[in-house]
Symmetry: C2
Subunit: 211 residues, 2 copies
Amino acid sequence: VTQARDAPAGAVDPLQRLTKLLARLPGIGDKSAMRLALAILRTDAPYALALAEAIGSIHASVRECSVCCDLSADPVCPRCQDPRRDDTTVCVVAQPQDRIAFDRAAAYRGRYHVLHGVLDPLAGIGPNALRIEALLRRLEPREGGPSPVREVIVATSPNVEGDATALYLARLLLPLGLSVTRIASGVAVGGELEYADTTTLTRALHDRRPL
Amino acid sequence: VTQARDAPAGAVDPLQRLTKLLARLPGIGDKSAMRLALAILRTDAPYALALAEAIGSIHASVRECSVCCDLSADPVCPRCQDPRRDDTTVCVVAQPQDRIAFDRAAAYRGRYHVLHGVLDPLAGIGPNALRIEALLRRLEPREGGPSPVREVIVATSPNVEGDATALYLARLLLPLGLSVTRIASGVAVGGELEYADTTTLTRALHDRRPL
């Protein structure tokens, strides 16, 4: 009723419209959306225009890299193009954010592959929804000889779906004669043992290694 | 270093650019910004275009109502135009959100005035930064006779700045022969006494009323 009173027939309040659009983003409730809309209004107009341009052009300017399926402005992403990266190793991650996290740690110099999800039968996400075919294509022999890939590191999160995805990939890739490994999980570096959950502690104990 | 490696000279990654712009919004950190940028990319393109349009046009389509200073798509907002609202009462709020909160409660049928802030000397916000002059203009005699306003309800939040603003307005408006009131504060309806903070309890006790 309030809304009908505020907005006469035909007119839609621009602030309400922006708020409703923002509220469709994940993690943004109605009140946050209103706060963001007002913040955009309170900033300088050039910022709002730059943000609008960036949002409006993002679908046209970002695609999946034809090799690793990571998001990229180019048909082949900078990491797949980089000749200094090691071709023998492919690190498989679930999402673009995970690749960024690895890059930030700067501890890895091989190639990446982004699945864009993990296996989750309850949510209806099967192997065909992931970029597994594109991964297999990278492991096939090329014109010049065999694929250079020797090891596939499965770097999905250590939870039910991530572990299931790792297991699925291992079964698929081991017959190809590749080394398939899983990133270690255990007590986080800098973390306190007493605050670690029991599953993590169990895993840390089970995966113990000689010093 | 990573960034320089990822983005060759001249090219700026569109996703990084969008993330940086989103991270300038209040309450949005780097990781939330990245998550929002990827969410926008994952939604349908028409949504992204609608959002871009709404953001890009918000500065041009929303202004302050020339009467109550609330944000509005029209020169005079729907609430100031509404002939059914009571002209004798003006409810003064700090921000547009507060007006929306009152409208949602639907318990008030008078007019509003939006200050766009509260007095906060430590942050350098004095009376001139607020829409107090516009409020005084509403209380001046009109061509046809005196201003219809009889009561000004100060509905700023019950904290140091909100109380100081209320006191400032009272000193300014009482000499005009107006009734100046303050919204009640106390234990929230539906709230538990045992969880109320001491200041709220003290205020609730002090402002007790006969039954």
